[in-house]
């Protein structure tokens, strides 16, 4: 491969370059998840607090739109490069093993990464239809949330989805630092623990919201 001036294109084409993009976009989503969770938790302070959080967020106007465009760009990149890497990895072993055992490195998160990713994509589409593109003129966001989660089937689907997001993050977070080369013997275990802490926070934080809204508040 010729590097030189067209370094950027070569980086995008190389295996590590594609992984770097997955890592950076993935970490972007981790930051988004934490911000989103912090916002959602205002629901615990009551209906007014949640509605006023929503209003103040949308009052930011262009900043919100810019973030949304950024997230959409990140999502498209993460999904397409992820799908391409999945295809390349599939192709790298044309003849499969008759028997292949886990040597102890793989985790539930790492094994299911492409599948949890695909599920999350479908969830995000549904989630945006339900909460983002929903008609908001007649009712407040709190009422929409309350109404949507009053359907037990939807609440169950939402909780399962959040567990799947947590599983994806449990591998994705530390993996991003490993890909970025930040990880070394000193920091590797720290990133792994942080990944688990963040995935638990995401799983419990989002997953308990429908239960809290339906039974406690």
């Amino acid at each position: 491969m010729q590097w030189g001036l067209n370094w950027f294109i070569c980086t995008l084409r190389s295996s590590i370059g594609k992984k770097l993009i997955m890592a950076l976009t993935g970490l972007g989503f981790c930051i988004f998840l934490i911000a989103h969770l912090a916002g959602n938790l205002t629901i615990c302070a009551g209906e007014d607090a949640f509605n006023s959080y929503s209003e103040r967020l949308h009052a930011l106007g262009p900043l919100v739109i810019l973030t949304e465009i950024g997230l959409l760009f990140f999502a498209v990149t993460h999904v397409f490069i992820g799908a391409y890497l999945f295809y390349e990895n599939f192709r790298a072993r044309p003849e499969k093993y008759l028997i292949k055992k886990n040597a102890g490195g793989r985790t539930i998160g790492s094994v299911t990464m492409p599948y949890t990713g695909l599920f999350i994509l479908l969830f995000i589409v549904l989630h945006l239809v339900d909460f983002h593109f929903v008609e908001k003129t007649d009712q407040t966001i709190y009422q929409i949330v309350l109404e949507t989660f009053s359907n037990p089937g939807y609440a169950f689907f939402y909780i399962v989805s959040m567990i799947i997001v947590a599983i994806h993050v449990s591998h994705g977070f530390w993996s991003a630092f490993q890909t970025l080369g930040v990880s070394n013997s000193g920091y590797m275990s720290l990133f792994r623990v942080m990944g688990i802490v963040i995935s638990l926070a995401v799983g419990f934080g989002f997953g308990l919201l429908p239960i809290y809204i339906s039974f406690i508040s």
């Binding site: 491969m1 590097w3 890497l85 292949k100 055992k101 490195g105 591998h171 993996s175």
Partner: protein, 255 residues
Amino acid sequence: MTKAGNKSCINLKLKVWRQKGPDVKGRFETYKARDVSTNMSFLEMLDVVNEEMILSGKDPIAFDHDCREGICGACGTMVNGRAHGPEKGTTLCQLHMRHFSNGDTVIIEPWRSRAFKVVKDLVLDRSVFDKIIQAGGYISVNTGGAPDGNAIPVPQESAEKAMDAAACIGCGACVAACPNASAMLFVGAKVSQFTLLPQGLPEAKKRALAMIGKMDELGFGNCTNETECEKECPKEISIENIARMNREFLKAGLS
């Protein structure tokens, strides 16, 4: 030699991948390994099976081997779904039959990767590793009088880490164990062993880009940080070396 019935002898059923040539379709065939001493290595067990096959006029099982003491990197097959068998930090020649029980079925397969071609049965063409080394796994030095050994100071920690990376014997177990058939642990180790030492630094940038470029070109998969390679590596080389290679790649691009 002791006979079956004795505790130190076992009988096994082998399910072995047989393939006549690189472009011929292979298949599994079943053999009986009788009176296998538990003190034998896995390769010695195959020798015994092969001897019997030769005597009965059959084509023996072809497998790679050389030093038989775990330092050359020639041997290696999947044994019941594990690269070099189930023991930690050993090559196939260091795997002893005492880890098997009488009556066990043992499935023996070659490493599977698009980049490794089967030559015959369990024998693989791993020359792709040589191509990666040729792309940049070296340092260029002028010939002449040997320089003084202590002229270039090397911190002890760097020397240790470089030596750990250089322990790679290029057997290919990392590729075999990787769910994506990625060679990043091999290339990571080879990049690291030079980049950690002052002698390797002048060509560090060129080396990282050339070796990674060659690895991609040869059709290996991409690393998804499953860490299976580290667990199966007979030399227990750490994935820290993959992180270091990623750093070298970034540094080479940005500088």
